[in-house]
């Protein structure tokens, strides 16, 4: 896992934070929600029931991803620094869910709630690699799901926000593949 150790080197992290902070590239989830919500509302009615349904489907998948990472974190199979990585990714999914939930509410919809219980293939998760592979499968699916959702939003601001989440999921997928010793970015295009 040398890539993780390298990636977590204090100097490297500090330099990255400094760059992102100074360049203004960091946009918090709350800021995205605010922008999306205000834009969508300002356009009045352009974001219809269809957009709310798409957002709610995405929210359902994000809530499941949070539960999946929780399962991985509590499995006892993940060792540091992989465990920290999983928790970081789970934190991203929590931010996505928060943004989606607030946006749905702003658009007059009712955000779905997390299920009391999720089904996961726990009988196949025996090692750290199994957990990583399972997470990678979900992340790849998430990239495809957002890719399929982006063009069907009626409101282009929502499409932009979904694309922003897509980019994050794609990075998760690449890093999980790298952790598994696989080519992190296996192709030039996603489907």
């Amino acid at each position: 896992m040398s890539f993780l150790i390298l990636g977590n080197a204090p100097d490297a992290l500090e330099a990255r934070r400094s760059f992102l902070g100074k360049s203004g590239l960091l946009l918090s989830g709350a800021a995205v929600a605010l922008l999306v919500g205000q834009e969508a509302l300002a356009k009045g009615g352009k974001s219809g029931a269809s957009d709310v349904r798409i957002l709610n489907t995405a929210l359902g998948a994000e809530l499941e991803a949070i539960a999946a990472y929780q399962l991985g974190a509590e499995s006892g199979l993940l060792q540091k620094p992989v465990l920290d990585l999983a928790l970081t990714f789970q934190g991203h999914h929590k931010e996505h869910a928060d943004v989606l939930s607030k946006t749905i509410a702003k658009l007059g919809g009712k955000p779905v709630s997390a299920k009391d219980k999720y089904s996961f293939p726990t009988d196949t998760l025996k090692t750290q690699a199994d957990v990583l592979r399972f997470a990678a499968t979900l992340e790849k699916g998430a990239v495809s799901a957002y890719l399929g959702a982006v063009p069907v939003f009626q409101n282009s601001d929502l499409a932009k926000a979904a694309a922003s989440i897509l980019g994050d999921e794609a990075m998760h997928w690449a890093i999980l593949r790298n952790a598994l010793g696989e080519v992190p970015v296996p192709s030039a295009f996603m489907a």
Partner: protein, 134 residues
């Protein structure tokens, strides 16, 4: 007149042959379809319900009929029975095929990819994982 008739018959014959060739060309490859199914795995699984319903038992099933799954009203009212043709139509553009579906997805627009995906789903429905549910 006879010439016109012969021309029409020929046109029909050519059209039929072209349709047959097209059908043959899109015969699904389950192996390729398995890779395409990876796109569905954010929301679906074969054996259990997730954001989307399970795919075991899909063929011959009425849309919106998996017990305990919270379908959209549109899907419940769709009167679709899932099979090769209905899946092909739905997967090409879910929101157009069933307006109001919760599956907010642009679709699998490539005909061959849809055929591959459907071939995989058919194969997977005969797998031990799915047979356990019957």
């Amino acid at each position: 007149m006879a010439g016109l008739l012969a021309g029409a018959v020929l046109a029909v014959a050519v059209g039929t042959a072209q349709a047959a060739a097209r059908d043959a060309a899109v015969r699904g490859d389950a192996k390729a379809g398995e890779a395409i199914y990876a796109r569905c795995l954010a929301c679906h699984a074969l054996a259990y319900d997730r954001t989307g319903p399970r795919h075991c038992g899909l063929f011959g099933r009425h849309a919106g009929s998996v017990n305990g799954f919270a379908y959209s009203e549109a899907m419940k009212r769709s009167k679709i029975v899932w099979g090769g043709r209905t899946l092909d139509r739905f997967l090409a553009n879910p929101l157009q095929a069933v307006p109001g579906t919760a599956m907010g997805y642009a679709g699998v627009t490539d005909r061959k990819e849809r055929a591959d995906l459907i071939a995989y789903l058919e194969l997977a429905n005969g797998s031990p994982e799915c047979r356990k549910q019957q």
